[in-house]
């Protein structure tokens, strides 16, 4: 097992380099970072501050048209938190997010591992499938989903009728469990390509000789997976996990177009709610307050993993 022990130091503690010239260290990293920082500060940082400010204001259409706003302290937050919608919404948002992220990661990881094992032609075909799915525009994807699962006319209902009968008229969006399943299927279908391709890209970085060495040592597939793949892939895997959780927490268009949060708010998540308040209810202040709360919640939920992610591979 000596060879396996050599695997983790692939990213050796020394990877954080001793800079070649001490004097330039002070400025070089900041100079390299500057373009990204400027763009982000301009387009996200500045609006983000405005978002927080708006959440303390009575900000509706009139404010937008006239530029005159009124500070109302925490009124937006209390209005949002005192509704009886908030508790079930939080539970629903969290559960749906975990279910979607887990589904995406398991299937995506499976696809990435399979791609590594497959022959070149099969691999190209899988790549093609993934990228074709990824390329379908959002509006078309949701429309396809509505069509596939339509009562009377949907292909899925037609197939299910032929398999088990009596499904032809089933309306998926009319019942909370099947509406949630519909959203889950769509989001996982759309998210797997990014996860699979990124993980595969990460897998392809693992030097083949580590596997060969492990194979010579008689390690089985699972051992190799555990001892070589996982440690090597950890930074990318963690990153993809955190990103999936973040994106699935914020899933919006799919729900709005597919179920519009229904039936009876059965598929309304925090973000859908924020949008409804801001744009349908014309209260940008309350919408902003929900967004701030949602972000804070997400930061709290992912804090542990984010910390691990920042440390991953740094050996610090």
């Amino acid at each position: 097992m000596e060879t396996l022990e050599a695997a983790p130091p692939v990213v050796p503690p020394a990877a954080a380099p001793a800079p070649p010239a001490r004097r330039r260290v002070a400025l070089t990293p900041y100079a390299l970072l500057a373009p990204a920082a400027v763009v982000l500060a301009l387009v996200i940082g500045y609006p983000l501050v405005r978002l927080v400010l708006i959440s303390f204001q009575d900000y509706g259409l009139r404010a937008l048209f006239t530029g005159r706003t009124r500070w109302i302290g925490l009124a937006n937050y209390t209005a949002v938190l005192h509704g009886d919608e908030i508790a079930p919404m939080l539970v629903r948002t969290a559960l749906l997010c975990v279910a979607m992220a887990a589904g995406t990661l398991v299937i995506g990881m499976g696809a990435a591992l399979a791609m590594r094992e497959l022959g070149r032609r099969m691999r190209t075909f899988v790549t093609f499938c993934l990228i074709a799915v990824w390329a379908v525009p959002n509006v078309a994807a949701t429309m396809l989903w509505t069509w596939l699962f339509q009562p009377t006319y949907g292909v899925v209902n037609w197939l299910l009728t032929h398999v088990s009968g009596g499904f032809g008229q089933y309306d998926w969006t009319a019942h909370t469990p099947s509406a949630l399943l519909l959203v889950w299927l769509l989001v996982v279908w759309q998210s797997v390509p990014f996860v699979a391709l990124t993980l595969y890209a990460g897998l392809s970085q693992i030097p083949a000789d580590y596997y060969e060495a492990a194979a010579i040592d008689g390690a089985g597939y699972l051992t190799r997976f555990r001892m070589v793949t996982v440690p090597f892939l950890r930074p990318i895997l963690l990153l993809v996990t955190v990103l999936s959780v973040i994106w699935d927490f914020n899933v919006f268009n799919q729900i709005r177009l597919l179920t519009n949060g229904g039936p009876n708010e059965g598929t309304t998540t925090l973000v859908v709610w924020s949008f409804t308040r801001a744009f349908a209810g014309q209260s940008y202040g309350q919408g902003a307050a929900i967004a701030v709360l949602a972000t804070a919640l997400l930061v709290a939920l992912t804090g542990y993993y984010v910390r691990r992610l920042v440390r991953a591979g740094e050996g610090l």
């Binding site: 937008l64 530029g67 006319y153 008229q169 039936p263 744009f279 349908a280 014309q282």
Partner: protein, 437 residues
């Protein structure tokens, strides 16, 4: 790490607050009072936004030609898409150089009218109307606090479109005159087509445009107004009766699968073109003919009969208004454009003549209905008894959160008992229609 982020945010905040000082101050534009006279617009260009699919290019060009002749100004037309249109108009009106004239769907006008985005045109509107009474369904939502914020552009309303062949095969040869005749006809058609995926009348359960007709026909209303306060009115005995009639009709003549569907998904025109139904309630026959051109000559139309003999069901009046952005620098010219678009020449020539839409006043409807084809006459007849949605900015909330669709859907599926559904929806109506903007 934890300490650094707030520090960075605070630093950014000071920057932003410093940046916020300038700009954004809303310069109040003078109220629009004077209509630009002949020739005063020479050398100027007016930007006008139209909605995709409403007026044809030819109709818009005809209006623009007339406007250029009258004022000397040229028109720059931009076509906008429906998806997220309210957000688009909202952000456009918030800019310092907005478009001058904007076409806005009649039920959405109230949203912008009451919030300072549009010019008050109450004064010059009297000159434009030239003694005609504009349809309440078009100007009602544009009237807030007694002031008018938009002029009507065109109207569209719903009538029954039916497949003559399916009807005559079932032994029905003439369109019905009363509701009793109508249901008797549908019963015959239903008996002739027992398949579970066939609807004698395809009325998707969430199709609220159909649902409100039953409420209004029974004498009910969506909401009533006392002073400045709106109250949801679906719990009233009349509205309850209308909702029961709706459920009865929907459940009897439309498929079980349609009970929780909206009319565009699946497209009810396609359902009709497929021969899976013998009748639908629609604003025109064009969409059906585009899918299946061979149906030309097999289509008939009539207004949906009302419960009281000799009446039609009151219809939801769709259509559009033209409004002037409050921040537009061309107020007088923009008023002149509204005057042109509402003129008898433009209404009979472009709106009714070229596009076949219903013109904007009862007088003009009478004037044009004689020249309309038989297929279109039913729409003119339906327009005579039209009702507007509540003229509150909050109405946009009801339409965009799709709660009205869900309300009728829940009644059609039987998920909620009618009194329960009405009670909770009344609460939502009251809350949304009175929400401060």
């Amino acid at each position: 790490m934890h300490r650094r982020i707030p520090a960075a945010l605070a630093a950014a905040a000071t920057l932003v607050v410093a940046g916020c000082g300038g700009g954004d101050g809303g310069a109040k534009s003078p109220p629009a009072t004077d209509i630009a006279g002949p020739g005063t617009g020479a050398g100027k260009t007016l930007t006008v936004w139209y909605m995709n699919g409403d007026l044809s290019d030819a109709a818009v060009a005809a209006i623009d030609r007339q406007f250029t002749q009258e004022t000397g100004a040229t028109v720059h037309v931009q076509i906008q898409q429906w998806d997220d249109i309210n957000t688009k108009i909202t952000t456009a009106l918030a800019q310092n150089d907005p478009p001058d004239v904007i076409e806005i769907g009649n039920t959405d006008v109230a949203l912008f009218a009451a919030t300072g985005g549009l010019s008050d045109i109450s004064g010059p509107a009297k000159t434009m109307a030239q003694g005609q009474s504009w349809l309440p369904g078009l100007v009602g939502p544009a009237t807030v606090g007694g002031r008018l914020y938009a002029a009507p552009l065109f109207a569209g309303e719903r009538a029954v479109v039916y497949n003559k062949k399916i009807w005559s095969d079932a032994g029905v040869t003439a369109p019905p005159a009363t509701l009793a005749e109508f249901t008797a006809d549908l019963d015959k058609i239903k008996a002739a087509h027992p398949a579970p995926d066939f609807s004698a009348f395809y009325m998707p359960g969430q199709y609220w445009f159909g649902g409100v007709q039953f409420v209004w026909d029974a004498g009910g209303q969506l909401a009533t107004r006392t002073g400045d306060r709106w109250t949801g009115a679906l719990e009233s005995p009349q509205a309850q009766q209308g909702l029961r009639a709706w459920k009865q009709f929907q459940n009897t003549y439309s498929t079980v699968a349609s009970r929780n569907l909206f009319n565009l998904s699946p497209d009810y025109n396609a359902v009709f073109a497929q021969g899976k139904t013998s009748a639908i309630l629609n604003t025109s026959v064009n969409a059906v003919l585009k899918i299946k051109p061979s149906l030309k000559g097999h289509l008939g139309t009539f207004p949906f009969p009302g419960a009281r003999a000799g009446t039609n069901q009151p219809v939801f009046l769709g259509g559009s208004d033209l409004a002037i952005a409050a921040k537009s620098p061309h107020q007088a010219l923009a008023l002149a454009y509204l005057k042109t678009a509402t003129s008898t020449a433009a209404q009979t020539g472009a709106i009714a003549g070229i596009d076949g839409w219903t013109p904007i006043s009862a007088q003009l409807i009478d004037q044009t209905s004689g020249s309309r084809s038989d297929l279109l006459k039913a729409f003119s007849a339906a327009a005579k008894r039209s009702v507007a949605t509540p003229a509150s900015p909050g109405w946009a909330t009801i339409e965009s959160d799709k709660s009205l669709q869900a309300f009728f859907g829940d009644i059609s599926t039987g998920k909620s008992a009618i009194p329960d559904a009405a009670r909770s929806f009344d609460q939502h109506l009251t809350q949304a229609l009175n929400a401060a903007q």
